[in-house]
């Protein structure tokens, strides 16, 4: 016992002084720490104030009965090993004291060897109890940890925006999160339910394939499914077999992700590419047609006709060049790779120089320009080439879509922290449905009045991109048959 770090503590409760002192000395010689009580009352006080390893309680004491002391100690410290010491051992008290939690009896009188032996047995028992307690506590802590780990994992899975469904090899639902239900557009599922019938055919076929395989391949099978029509909701399902530790199939985990936006972008991209291809191919086909005719001797085209076809081919090729340039501008603007030279831009000057640039077109159609520009119109900070481009596109549209001898009104003034510029024409105007599509790439209003007006279909989408890149706004009003007004608001305080 002496090599123990902490000495075992023993309480002796006995009204017999000689025995008290005798056992105390005996136990202290063995290396134990001993406290004594000379009556039941003191015994209860000491025994309930500290968790003794062992208590030896005399059964018969003048004040309080030993069984009462036993009961009190056991209530407070159930793990104190209690011995009942008595000369009046009887079957009844043995049963009674055992019921109250006594470990054993020590019949009086006893030899030191007997006594020490009993105490050692008791201490062994105490150690067993404490060890068991420790293990139990450890296990509970582990369980708690496990439970919180599980709930943490649960929280994580619930929080991710992808849908998760786990089924076992019997095709019963083991786990799901709410994103999964949302993506599959199903309301009500229960754990343990045969869920495969509720899943889209594309997924259940993959699951069948995985489950029916003899050897599991750790491979993910993916499929894309249109859950709601008209590309409202498209999900991608990735199904992966989950193996048991022995390599057999435990189930299948299905991860669902919303790919609707990607699909939409893909669609827009491919539509754009088709439109570009069409716009590029149309003039090419015309030019190719003319060249074929000129090269084909059997058609007998005369010199004059030949020259006309070559001239018309040149016009088509020029429009093709314009188109390619516009496309490059749009692409640069979208990629924001265009190098901007921000400087003070005088809007009046820019409009004047644009009108000069378009003088030939204005004269050809005999169009009158009327300007009403506020004096001291604030200077804005911008790239002058972009602002020039903006006015060129808008004013050349106002010419192209104007009637012969029509007018263009340009009104510019400050409106709070914006410079507002109105460009109004007296042209053919637009129908409401044409107005809505106006800023779309390649959109050109097509009707009997626009026939013969050429353009790339990109002018206004470039205008819109420029205006928006300066955090400005563009508005359009139009009356079919009477004319169109574009209003541009550009912020004054530009950095």
């Amino acid at each position: 016992m002496s090599d123990q770090v902490k000495k075992a503590s023993i309480l002796i409760v006995d009204d017999e002084k000689g025995l008290r002192i005798g056992t105390q000395r005996l136990l202290e010689d063995e290396g134990y720490e001993v406290e004594t009580a000379d009556c039941g009352e003191v015994g209860i006080r000491l025994g309930t104030s500290k968790d003794f390893d062992v208590a030896v309680i005399d059964l018969k004491m003048p004040d309080i009965d030993g069984l009462e002391v036993l009961k009190e100690i056991k209530t407070t410290f159930p793990n104190t090993i209690c011995f009942i010491a008595t000369a009046y051992a009887s079957y009844d008290t043995a049963i009674q004291s055992t019921r109250l939690g006594a470990y054993s009896y020590i019949p009086k009188p006893f030899t030191p060897e007997e006594f020490i032996y009993q105490i050692e047995q008791g201490l062994k028992q105490r150690q067993l109890i404490l060890e068991a307690l420790r293990l139990k506590q450890e296990r509970e802590e582990k369980l708690l940890e496990l439970a919180s780990e599980k709930s943490r994992l649960n929280t994580i899975i619930k929080a991710i925006s992808d849908g998760v469904i786990v089924i076992n090899r019997n095709e019963e639902l083991v786990y799901f999160n709410y994103a999964a239900l949302r993506f599959l557009n199903i309301r009500d599922v229960k754990i343990g339910e045969k869920v495969v019938e509720k899943l889209p055919k594309e997924i259940s076929e993959i699951i069948d394939k995985i489950i029916s395989k003899e050897k599991i391949l750790l491979k993910t099978y993916t499929t894309q499914i249109e859950i709601l029509p008209n590309n409202e909701l498209i999900i991608e399902a990735a199904c992966t077999p989950v193996p048991n530790p022995d390599g057999s199939l435990a189930g299948v985990v299905i991860i669902l992700s919303n790919v609707t936006q990607f699909k939409k972008i893909e669609l827009i991209k491919s539509q754009f590419v088709s439109m570009v291809a069409h716009e590029l191919k149309t003039p090419l086909a015309a030019v190719q047609g003319f060249i074929n005719i000129i090269l084909d001797d059997s058609l007998g085209v005369d010199k004059e006709k030949e020259k006309e076809y070559l001239t018309r081919s040149t016009v088509r090729l020029r429009s093709l060049t314009d188109l390619v340039n516009d496309l490059l501008d749009i692409s640069r603007m979208e990629l924001k790779t265009k190098h901007r030279e921000i400087e003070n831009v005088n809007i009046i000057e820019t409009i004047k120089s644009t009108l000069q640039f378009l003088e030939f077109e204005l004269k050809k159609k005999e169009i009158v320009v009327d300007t009403n520009i506020q004096e001291n119109l604030p200077i804005i900070k911008a790239d002058v080439s972009e602002i020039t481009r903006l006015f060129t596109n808008l004013i050349s549209n106002a010419i192209k879509y104007n009637k012969e001898s029509g007018s263009i009104y340009i009104i510019a003034h400050q409106e709070n922290s914006y410079v507002s510029i109105k460009i109004r024409d007296t042209g053919i105007g637009m129908k409401p449905e044409e107005k809505d599509r106006l800023f779309n790439e390649f959109y050109r209003a097509k009707n009997e009045k626009t026939r013969g007006i050429s353009g790339t279909g990109l002018g206004l989408s470039i205008v819109k991109k420029i205006v928006e890149s300066y955090y400005g706004k563009i508005e359009v009003e139009s009356v079919f048959g009477y004319g169109t007004t574009f209003t541009i608001h550009l912020p004054i305080n530009q950095n």
């Binding site: 069409h278 086909a285 047609g289 084909d296 059997s298």
Partner: protein, 127 residues
């Protein structure tokens, strides 16, 4: 000699196609939009129609073809296309697209003449 109607909104294509066919002895009428196209078909009753698929709208060539068939006009139609396949209008001769043949622009004079002759011969056999 057979009369051929060409309906296309591109005046250069109209002129080039007309020139080729006229030089082979065909008579040609043209229109630059579906409405006028329908009119010349009703009035002139051509033996063959060459129809561009994309005019004012990306598919109004289809609509004109369908309209003609509904009106019980069964004149063979040769359809001009440019990039319709890429747009997803991958078509075959069908109820939806009641035309007799397709040709992708640009087209060489020999190719155009060959297609026209084939279609006209087919009609001839039927009659």
């Amino acid at each position: 000699m057979a009369l051929i109607a060409i309906i296309d909104d591109d005046p250069d294509i109209l002129d080039a196609s007309s020139l080729v066919l006229k030089s082979k002895g065909y008579d040609v009428v043209t229109a630059s939009n579906p409405t006028d196209g329908f009119k010349i078909i009703e009035e002139r009753k051509p033996n063959l129609i060459i129809l561009d698929v994309m005019m004012d709208e990306p598919d109004d060539g289809f609509f004109l073809a369908q309209k003609l068939r509904r009106e019980n006009i069964h004149t063979p139609i040769l359809m001009y296309t440019s990039v319709s396949k890429a747009i997803g209008m991958d078509f075959n001769k069908s109820e939806m697209v009641p035309v007799d043949d397709f040709v992708e622009k640009p087209i060489s004079p020999e190719q155009l003449v060959a297609k026209v002759e084939t279609l006209l011969n087919k009609v001839g056999e039927k009659i």
